[in-house]
Amino acid sequence: MFSSETLDKFAREVAKYPADQKQSAVMACLAHAQEEKGWLPAEAIEAVANYLGMPPIAAYEVASFYNMYDLKPLGKYKITVCTNLPCALSGGYHAGEYLQQKLGIGYNETTADGKFTLKEGECMGACGDAPVFIVNNRSMCSHMHPEQIDKLLEECK
């Protein structure tokens, strides 16, 4: 199911917790699993659950509770735009609209070439740098005004 690299990561996460608390690593393992697969198909969730010795539905509860897990396939680049109030006051909505226009899709949609998926996100804890995006759950982009957005889309190959 998972590459040996991912399995190594699993093992490193499990080691953070007391021996009888393997389930604690579920969030991290699901995140690694998603990184490898691009999203979280049910089989991946079940495999993580089995790896940690927890019921699959308990792992599914976790995967469906936290926003950054993707339970449906999505584009190569997931761009999450913060539109919460502090960002909105500094152009968060505008940035989102600009992105939508450029990509020709709305939120929760994927471009026809399968490259981009747009999501609306809640406060990312970087309101001073508004507007902010997160690409693929990993890299935070600050001050996303139109020129910056153009540059970002350029870089996403």
Binding site: A42, P55, I57, A58, Y60, E61, S64, F65
Partner: protein, 777 residues
């Protein structure tokens, strides 16, 4: 103790009590949904908000610990306003479909919303809709918009059933109860979630839309399905059993029943019922009047007895027969001059007959399981054979009880086990001997004679040590131990272990009335359940048994029945195979249509009444046997009621039977010779194939537990046999053959294959725990 005052009423409650506990003690009702006395506290519904003196906010009674001198108001303005507020929230997204809801009339939400007065909804937004789910044949999750997210069902799975199959996925108002990607709910206790659901979200699939709750009459009964004697409420409409629910009895079943007990009733109203006496004449079956049938039986039996002697007649009864039925059956046989009567069709070793000091039983009360410091279960498919005892041990293990298993498969009992050892059936006796020896060594006592050569493994030591510590310990012998070819030695070893450790020794009990059958003396003076087939007789009476499924060696039983001159078949159900070897079929009443008595494995005497009129020409078996005795002109058959018979058998016993004892006299410990190496069969009796009712309950037959038996063996054994999982294998015992799917199951010990009994595909095979040959098919 803490003092508390609720609505002006004072009470003393133990430390650690919640306001809800105190209110229940005082008889003050506080509305609630998520709170359930058997489940952990979630405090999520917020219905139980009450005012507590000095607290600025209303507090949930279910989760608020009592402090000394606390004053609580459940009806103050603050409390009522809070409760009404919660009620409003619960209703805004709840469909207003009470008239068509299956829960209508027994819905806590409906009751409470009525109690809080008619409220014109201030909510004008669109209602949230939740998609329905299919979770199998028993529970309907068709209207999940009704769910109020109390999570009782989720907690039940995690805490009581021991397996989390339902969860609450997503978050915020999109929270939804579901299984993992459309899986079914497979726990053998799953139906209890239907009872726990306070609204109409989880409902009974078989019951849905068959009746409205107010049309139902509620009658008390007792479960015929296992040795616990679960107390039931049978709900009846127009002489049909519509639904079976648990009747709370903390000492017996608490508030639970197994799915088998809940859904087997479907068989009662079905076409599968035998409703008229039938006689085979000239190879043709004919429906006849009772007097004709009974004349035929009486003459037939009398003729055989006269011509061939009483010993040519034998009778075999099911363990779910009542005390009254078993007693009269024994009496009829005695009148015929036969001592060949038995109720233990699955037993292989009868070495303890005539050596028992009393009636074998659990050795303790069910309710005391929670207080055990340690328990050892020997030879059992515990969860499936005894779901409610497994449940009690599961709860006990969560607290402090060290529960160990010594059995023939490592099936997950969903119990946090202290130690577990699984061995081939023939090795069970050596494994138990190892524990006995370990106990002797640990205590510095002499190793019992005969056990000198027995090996002691680490697990055996661990088990022995656990049984030596603490105050209350128990050793339980399960069905596999009872049915083992080494049953006598296992029994002796258990007694020895009890003697060495101070643990009580007992039997989990094969059937609903195993103890009662002993007490009714339906035991052989002559041929036992095995001998009566091994040395074929001329005539047989079968009461409630389906020999293909219920006998230790169905092959042998069938051969004997087929050669017999007369087979009298008493059953509540049509049983096609019997059409071939039986000569008379007598429709006898199932537990819902007769009065009678079961004595549970803890010795509890529970009498019950019929709850519906007997179907068609069906008659209670005790009445049939009484008439038979009369027709045969035997003395002592003039009982007017089942109570009279019961009193004749049990005396005025009260709540528990007397004469219970597992002690043996005149037997010595002697290890059998190590069997020649060979492939051994392990036969479980799958829970929904275990009795004639369950076998005919359509919903139960669609569950995961009712999948047709496969050949299951460990990876190593499969490789050695040249079998591959997913393929098929031909198994053979004697001249019986079955072709089965092959499954890898590493819980099966090496050199064993698990091939379940009690199913048409395996009915032609032989000994449940005997040798077996396997080849690729």
């Amino acid at each position: 103790m803490l003092e508390i005052e609720i609505d002006g009423k004072k009470a003393q409650v133990p430390d650690g009590s919640t306001v809800m506990d105190a209110a229940q003690q005082l008889g003050v009702y506080i509305p609630h949904f998520c709170y359930h006395k058997k489940l952990s506290i979630a405090a999520n519904c917020r219905m139980c908000l009450v005012q507590v003196e000095k607290a600025p906010k209303p507090l949930p009674a279910c989760a608020t610990p009592v402090t000394n001198g606390m004053k609580v108001f459940t009806h103050s303005d603050l409390a009522v306003k809070a409760q009404k507020g919660v009620m409003e929230f619960l209703l805004i997204n709840h469909p207003l479909d009470c008239p068509v809801c299956d829960q209508g009339g027994e819905c806590q939400l409906q009751d409470m919303s009525v109690g809080y007065g008619p409220m014109k909804s201030r909510y004008t937004e669109e209602k949230h809709v939740v998609f329905h789910k299919d979770v199998g044949p028993l529970i309907s999750m068709q209207e999940m918009s009704r769910c109020i997210h109390c999570t009782r069902c989720v907690r039940f799975g995690q805490e009581i059933a021991g397996v989390m199959e339902l969860g609450m996925a997503n978050r915020n108002m999109h929270s939804e109860i579901m299984t993992f990607v459309g899986r079914t709910v497979d726990s053998e206790l799953s139906g209890n979630m239907i009872d726990l659901c306070p609204v109409g979200a989880l409902t009974s699939k078989p019951f849905r839309y068959t009746a409205r709750s107010w049309e139902l009459q509620r009658r008390k009964s007792v479960s015929p399905h296992d040795s616990v004697g679960a107390n039931l409420v049978v709900q009846v409409k127009h002489d049909n059993v519509m639904r079976v629910l648990p009747r709370e009895n903390e000492a017996v079943n608490e508030c639970w029943i197994s799915d088998k007990e809940r859904f087997a009733y479907q068989a009662l109203n079905s076409e599968a019922r035998l409703t008229r006496p039938m006689v085979k004449q000239g190879g043709e079956w004919r429906e006849v009047e009772w007097n004709v049938a009974l004349d035929y039986v009486a003459h037939g039996l009398k003729d055989v007895a006269r011509e061939h002697g009483g010993d040519a007649v034998a009778a075999l009864a099911a363990q779910s027969s009542t005390v009254e039925e078993l007693y009269l059956l024994g009496k009829v046989m005695k009148g015929l001059g036969s001592g060949n009567v038995d109720f233990r069709p699955r037993q292989a070793d009868f070495g303890t007959d005539f050596k028992r000091a009393g009636t074998p039983w659990l050795g303790m009360r069910l309710a005391d399981i929670k207080d055990l410091d340690a328990a050892l279960v020997v030879g059992s498919f515990l969860r499936k054979d005894h779901p409610l005892i497994a449940q009690r041990l599961r709860q006990a293990a969560k607290k402090f009880t060290k529960v160990s298993m010594l059995s023939v498969t490592a099936d997950d009992q969903l119990i946090n086990l202290h130690a577990s050892l699984s061995v081939a059936p023939s090795q069970l006796v050596f494994a138990l001997a190892g524990v006995v020896k370990a106990a002797a060594l640990a205590k510095g006592l002499a190793v019992p004679d005969g056990l000198e050569a027995v090996a002691v493994c680490e697990t055996a030591q661990r088990i022995a040590t656990s049984l030596l510590a603490g105050e209350k310990r128990a050793v339980f012998l399960g069905n596999v131990a009872t049915q083992s070819a080494d049953a006598t030695q296992l029994h002796l070893l258990a007694l020895e272990l009890g003697r060495l450790t101070g643990a009580s020794v007992g039997f989990l009990g094969e059937g609903a009335n195993t103890v009662g059958a002993h007490l009714a003396w339906a035991l052989p003076n002559g041929a036992n359940a095995r001998q009566m087939f091994a040395q074929p007789r001329k005539a047989y009476v079968l009461m409630g048994v389906e020999p293909e499924f219920d006998c230790a060696n169905p092959q042998q039983a069938l051969a004997a029945l087929k050669q017999a001159a007369l087979v009298v078949y008493m059953s509540a159900f049509k049983h096609d195979p019997a059409l071939e070897y039986a000569d008379v079929m007598l429709p006898i009443a199932p537990y819902t249509e007769t009065s009678g008595t079961f004595v549970s494995t803890e010795g509890r005497i529970q009498s019950f009444n019929g709850v519906v009129k007997a179907r068609g020409e069906t008659r209670p078996a005790w009445k049939i046997l009484r008439v038979l005795g009369n027709v045969l002109n035997f003395a002592g058959f003039d009982y007017q009621s089942s109570e009279e018979i019961r009193d004749a058998v049990l005396g005025q016993s009260g709540e528990f039977a007397s004469g219970l004892s597992n002690d043996l006299g005149g037997l010595v410990l002697a290890m059998p010779a190590q069997p020649a190496a060979g492939l051994q069969r392990i036969a479980d009796v799958p829970i929904h194939f275990a009795d004639p009712m369950a076998r005919r309950a359509p919903a139960l037959q669609q569950t995961a537990d009712a999948r047709p038996p496969a050949l299951r063996a460990s990876a190593g054994t499969l490789a050695a046999l040249g079998l591959a999982a997913g393929g098929q294998a031909r198994v053979r015992q004697g001249d019986g053959v079955a072709v089965l799917d092959v499954q890898q199951d590493d819980n099966v010990p090496a050199d064993c294959v698990r091939v379940a009994a009690a199913h048409p595909t395996t009915a032609q095979l032989g000994e449940m725990f005997g040798e077996i040959t396997v080849e690729r098919a």
